[in-house]
Symmetry: C2
């Protein structure tokens, strides 16, 4: 099984007024992302507010997607949790559904933990999931977790589990870290989290891009991915980066959802689960006007 | 129902070689802490490695304790989770068992969230648990969660839920923050997380102490609590602080468990679940020798 490549949006989650998942709308949106150019879906990520869903909801979302006819080989769900026990349950469930792989956060409660402790955590997950089908993509997001998958630890994990630990999504936004990974690990499926970094990273061997703003601009990002060596590349890259920079100048997840609410003309996209909060009216209007002016 | 007072150790968790909970040893230890002077047990806290237990294990531990004959009014379990859905399930389960209250972490995945978002999170938990018995003790541990229960937010929560939000455990170690709470919120059940801060805090109106090292030195801490106005107070306080400072000069949870392994002559106490790691041989020996010399 080859590792994932291309554009894998971390599909956002629409909520009903009582904050339950609007499953019908969610499933339809996932199908639309695929029709609009996504190679696959990195579902249940940070932008999806996964860590604000309970464990049963997380399993339920994945089952709904597969039952709706999405090819599980086009799904890489986030299955991380603070405890290896819960991470194992989610990862095993996803593997049994036949997904392409799982995005694994480091255990994100305790801080200042050692590479040795993180190695043991991943080892326990792999040992307990106990499936030849298991493919893990490490999920690096130090701004949320307070932890980093260090290049040294990644090398150790790849050495110990070469068939299983096949890639990484890097949401750090740290180009130096990203470039170090690209240099040290040719053949590792490395996904930056922003289309602003994508073209340069692809030139250096990245596998693709898992970006929050692929929720709102998947067509543009796919076009950039395909056309990155064309005469239009510079102009497309500039425009994609401008859109990304604008949306990310607001609280990112709330801004993605405010834009989805406009695009899909439905209030459910505007809702976030606490502790996250939606953009206020003033921010929503400012974002809308600036986006229209681009 | 009056709020909790006194010494409430956050009981540590012994593991078998396969990292499963050694339940028999755990339950016996909890009974011993109560016999040795604990007023109650703040079970399933950070020192207990709760966030390294899966959700079913967390419920199971609490049921075992109650079934073993511990009065649920002597239990304040940690029932926090990153999602309000899981926090609700744990908190409701605990309330139905009749516990004294629940220690609630803020949702600890997303960072940089607003007081408004944290308020909504707590509101959802209270609304969905929907029990008159519910008593919440906020759990402040910014070093792990990256979030703080600000005095302004605490005031808002107390105003909105005066019967329910009754106290706080402050693990920040920040005396300035602690003193601010003590000054602003008379009648709020405030627990510092270290016996080094306890006597001064009790003088200023604190309710007691929830300390990691109450696992290993509950008799000394209870004696200090009772004797803090006696002629022995200064000497007892100095000794308790010296023990605390020594143990906390090592990685705290690992050092508590290494000391428990010595006290109970059982290896199971020395084990931690990843991502935490035990003290190495050299650290263990150094801690043992320095403790013996005190």
């Amino acid at each position: 099984m080859t590792a994932a490549t291309g554009i894998w949006p971390p599909a956002a989650t629409p909520f009903r007024e009582d904050l339950s998942i609007d499953m019908e709308r969610y499933v339809a949106f996932c199908h639309q992302l695929l029709r609009d150019g996504a190679h696959g879906l990195a579902v249940l990520g940070t932008t999806s507010e996964t860590n604000s869903l309970d464990l049963e909801e997380r399993k339920g979302v994945l089952e709904k997607l597969v039952n709706s006819g999405i090819n599980p080989a086009q799904l890489i769900p986030g299955t991380g949790a603070a405890s290896f026990g819960d991470a194992v349950k989610l990862t095993k469930h996803a593997a049994e559904l036949g997904v392409k792989g799982s995005l694994l956060l480091p255990p994100f409660y305790y801080k200042g933990v050692s590479d040795e402790g993180l190695f043991e955590f991943v080892s326990e997950v792999i040992r307990r999931v106990n499936s030849k089908r298991l493919r893990l993509y490490l999920y690096n997001f130090p701004q949320q977790t307070g932890l980093i998958w260090s290049p040294e630890l990644i090398a150790t994990l790849r050495g110990a589990f070469p068939e299983t630990v096949v890639g990484i999504k890097d949401s750090s936004g740290d180009a130096k870290y990203l470039n170090k990974l690209l240099e040290k690990f040719p053949g590792f499926a490395i996904f930056p989290s922003s289309e602003s970094l994508m073209v340069d990273a692809l030139d250096k061997g990245a596998a693709g891009c898992i970006s929050a703003t692929a929720n709102t601009h998947v067509k543009e990002i796919r076009a950039l991915y395909e056309g990155r060596k064309s005469s239009q590349a510079a102009a497309m890259n500039k425009r994609a980066s401008a859109i990304r920079t604008l949306i990310a100048s607001f609280p990112l997840i709330a801004a993605v959802k405010a834009t989805l609410a406009d695009q899909h003309k439905h209030r459910g996209w505007h809702r976030l689960r606490p502790p996250l909060t939606p953009l206020d009216e003033k921010q929503t209007t400012a974002l809308r006007e600036k986006l229209a002016a681009l």
